[in-house]
């Protein structure tokens, strides 16, 4: 995966470039809005990671300009402004995701991978499959092997989101945002409890576990370890 990081803080940018390289991605770095815009226009990237406040040209304006030129490379906005209305502003300006600083790298990585996959992703399929687990988005039926699994509406949406991003790590915050539409910190490990309930419904009694916890990051649903 090829990434562009537009970030004026050199330390933060170096850290990100290095960290992405360690997990096998290539990351370019631009130090201000103008340079970032030029690079995003000139090269092909999978995801743009853009700081909100940049010298020369504001991050939102970079994204706005790109969108005006019909370049729809997914863009993730990093911002020191973490409030709800700032997020709304960022997404309205054409950003695809919004992550307030300070963030953990695992959170950023999970979000970037989901964004990169979105283009080629399985968004519009009506049936999601992972191994012998099947989720039918139209009839709202979930089956594993021969047996039908009965889920609460919220559990269904949780599983739907996980299966949509099968093989990709999704963080607790991503689940809270996408399944519950909450952008605040619930303080306690509420998501974990929901996940363990879901796990007991889809994995209990089967020899192969599909729902895995990724330590320090979140959850992933996949066939095999």
């Amino acid at each position: 995966m090829r990434l562009l990081i537009v970030e004026d803080d050199r330390d933060a940018a170096d850290y990100l470039v290095k960290a992405f390289r360690e997990v096998g991605h290539v990351a370019d770095h631009a130090v201000d809005g103008e340079e970032g815009l030029a690079m995003a226009l000139g090269e092909q990237y999978d995801v743009l990671i853009i700081d909100r406040m940049l010298p020369k040209r504001d991050g939102l304006s970079v994204i706005g300009t790109l969108r005006a030129k019909s370049i729809d490379t997914p863009a993730l906005i990093l911002s020191a402004l973490g409030q709800v209305d700032d997020r709304v502003k960022g997404l309205r300006a054409g950003g695809d995701d919004y992550l307030p600083k300070p963030y953990s790298f695992s959170e950023l990585l999970a979000r970037v991978e989901v964004l990169a996959r979105r283009r080629s992703g399985r968004g519009e399929e009506t049936v999601y499959r992972v191994a012998d687990l099947e989720l039918d988005r139209l009839s709202h039926r979930v089956t594993r092997g021969e047996s039908e699994i009965v889920l609460q509406p919220r559990e269904f949406r949780l599983l739907e989101y996980l299966m949509k991003h099968a093989g990709q790590v999704v963080t607790r915050t991503m689940l809270l945002e996408n399944v519950w539409d909450y952008h605040f910190d619930p303080q306690t490990n509420v998501i974990d409890v929901h996940m363990s309930r879901l796990r007991s419904k889809i994995d209990k009694g089967f020899s192969r576990a599909l729902l895995h916890t990724v330590r320090g990051a979140g959850y992933v649903i996949r066939d095999g370890k």
Binding site: G82, V84, D85, S104, W180, F184, D185, P186, Q187
Partner: protein, 499 residues
């Protein structure tokens, strides 16, 4: 020399200061207003006196004219009946009376036959209407001169008769009135100016006092208050309002200081812990495993810090009212169901029954996210403090007692936590009730204040902030967070205004 130069300088400065004080006075609105009034009054006085002068003068003139006409008529009549001789006799007699009118009878050629006129302006006798003229009486010295209003008529036989009356009296009256006018205008101007300066200076002095106080306040002494004269006038009212504003500002500043103190406390403690952990690891770690454990610890601690920081920021934002633009109408009952659903498994895991009691829609206008968060905090708190599996019989109501909705029939397990939404009058009450230890009545008011934490809850990180945030969210929505007794336990209610 130097001394005198300095004295000169200071004198000059004093003059300049005096001038600027005067300039300040002259530039005030009040003084300009006095000038306008002054001009208006002076013009009015002038007009009044002018009008008075004009009417009196025309009245006098009319009287003179009437007298003259009457005399002429009488004399003409006499001439017509008795001839020139009788006329001359009468004119002669009248002329001799002291303070008499002017009389003159001449031949057609203009020679005087009788009367008391010594000399006239030339040509007067040729004019027959009313004329003003200078004259001299017969018995007066050559160079005296008076003014009179005269009328000349031609009598039958070419004789001419002149009757006139001195108008010096009228002129004197004119002079008196003119002088009075000058004086009164002068007095109006002087009194007006003095009054204007006096009033302006009084007001200016008060304004200056206010300005002075304002300046000290701007320099940082927020305890200063504007002087109030106690007259209840507009300046007093302005001062009172400004003082109220200052009171509010001082309160806010005080609050801000308290907030920053609390922020400092809330952040400094975990920061110290963080630092200690790192230091300890450096000092005592024996191998990779120890370092890893220490780093994980540090990471966890910093996540906690970020969480606290976010909560503090959120409270500050809610307090500032900044979020007030992002408000829309929604059903609070729905929110209650949603948030309760999010926490239900957590409560269940702890062996706590969580019941939602929100049967009817409860429309409110507000920030959905913030209200959800406030509610989440309250539920999270309740889960932390509620007592698991309280058996119902302990709570079974005595016969005859009103059975509350939340209390199930005996035999079933009473829910440890009840989350409810209901519309009451013009308010919507969102409440979270638990059966935990509750908060002592004395502490309840205190705990809703910004950032206050009960000593007891220090061991539970973030618990106090949760309540503070809920209270801040309630205040943002012009509502309040009410903490009540759930006997046993705490019943926290967000009282918001209904949409």
């Amino acid at each position: 020399m130097a001394n005198s130069a300095a004295a000169f300088d200071s004198a000059k400065r004093a003059t300049r200061e005096g001038l600027t004080a005067l300039g300040k006075l002259l530039r005030t609105t009040l003084f300009k207003l006095s000038l306008v009034y002054l001009t208006v009054f002076a013009l009015f006085a002038a007009f009044l006196i002018g009008y008075f002068a004009w009417t009196t003068s025309s009245l006098i003139t009319r009287q003179i004219t009437e007298t003259i006409d009457a005399e002429i008529n009488g004399l003409s009549e006499l001439y017509n009946q008795g001839g020139i001789r009788r006329l001359l006799l009468l004119v002669d007699a009248r002329s001799r009376r002291p303070g008499s009118n002017l009389y003159l009878v001449t031949t057609p050629a203009g020679e005087g036959l009788a009367g008391n006129v010594g000399s006239l302006q030339p040509g007067i006798l040729e004019r027959t209407g009313l004329t003003e003229t200078s004259y001299r009486r017969l018995d007066e010295a050559e160079d005296t001169e008076h003014y009179a209003l005269v009328r000349v008529v031609r009598l039958g036989g070419g004789f001419r008769l002149l009757v006139g009356r001195d108008i010096e009296e009228r002129e004197r009256l004119h002079d008196i009135i003119l002088t009075a006018a000058r004086w009164s205008v002068a007095v109006v101007v002087v009194l007006g100016l003095v009054g204007g300066v006096f009033v302006t200076r009084r007001v200016l002095k008060r304004i200056d006092a206010m300005t002075g106080t304002t300046r000290t306040i701007m320099e940082g002494d927020l305890s200063g208050r504007l002087p109030i004269a106690g007259t209840g006038d507009e300046l007093d009212r302005l001062g009172e309002n400004l003082n109220a504003m200052l009171e509010r500002i001082e309160g806010l500043m005080h609050g801000l200081k308290e907030v920053s103190d609390n922020i400092a406390h809330d952040l400094r403690t975990p920061l110290t812990r963080l630092r200690n952990r790192a230091e300890e690891a450096l000092r005592t770690a024996k191998g990779d495993g120890d370092y890893r454990a220490a780093l994980e610890n540090v990471l966890e601690e910093s996540d906690g810090l970020i969480r606290t920081f976010n909560a503090l920021l959120m409270i500050a934002r809610a307090e500032s009212g900044e979020v007030r633009e992002n408000m829309d109408e929604f059903d609070a009952a729905e929110i209650v169901h949603d948030v309760a659903e999010l926490y239900e498994p957590l409560a269940d895991d702890k062996g706590l029954a969580l019941k939602v009691d929100a049967p009817a829609p409860a429309p409110i206008k507000g920030n959905r996210e913030l209200i959800s968060q406030a509610l989440a905090n309250l539920i999270d708190n309740a889960i932390k403090y509620a007592a698991p599996k309280l058996a119902a019989p302990a709570l079974a109501p005595a016969v005859g007692d009103v059975v509350a909705d939340a209390v199930p029939p005996p035999g079933e397990v009473a829910p440890a936590i009840v989350v409810s939404a209901r519309a009451e009058g013009n308010r919507v009450l969102l409440s979270v009730a638990d059966n935990g230890p509750g908060i002592p009545a004395a502490d309840r008011l205190h705990v809703v204040e910004r950032f206050v934490r009960l000593e007891q809850s220090r061991s539970q990180p973030g618990a106090g902030l949760g309540l503070s945030l809920a209270a801040a969210v309630a205040r943002l929505h012009r509502g309040e967070l009410v903490l009540g007794d759930n006997a046993p336990g705490l019943k926290a209610t967000l009282a918001l205004s209904r949409a």
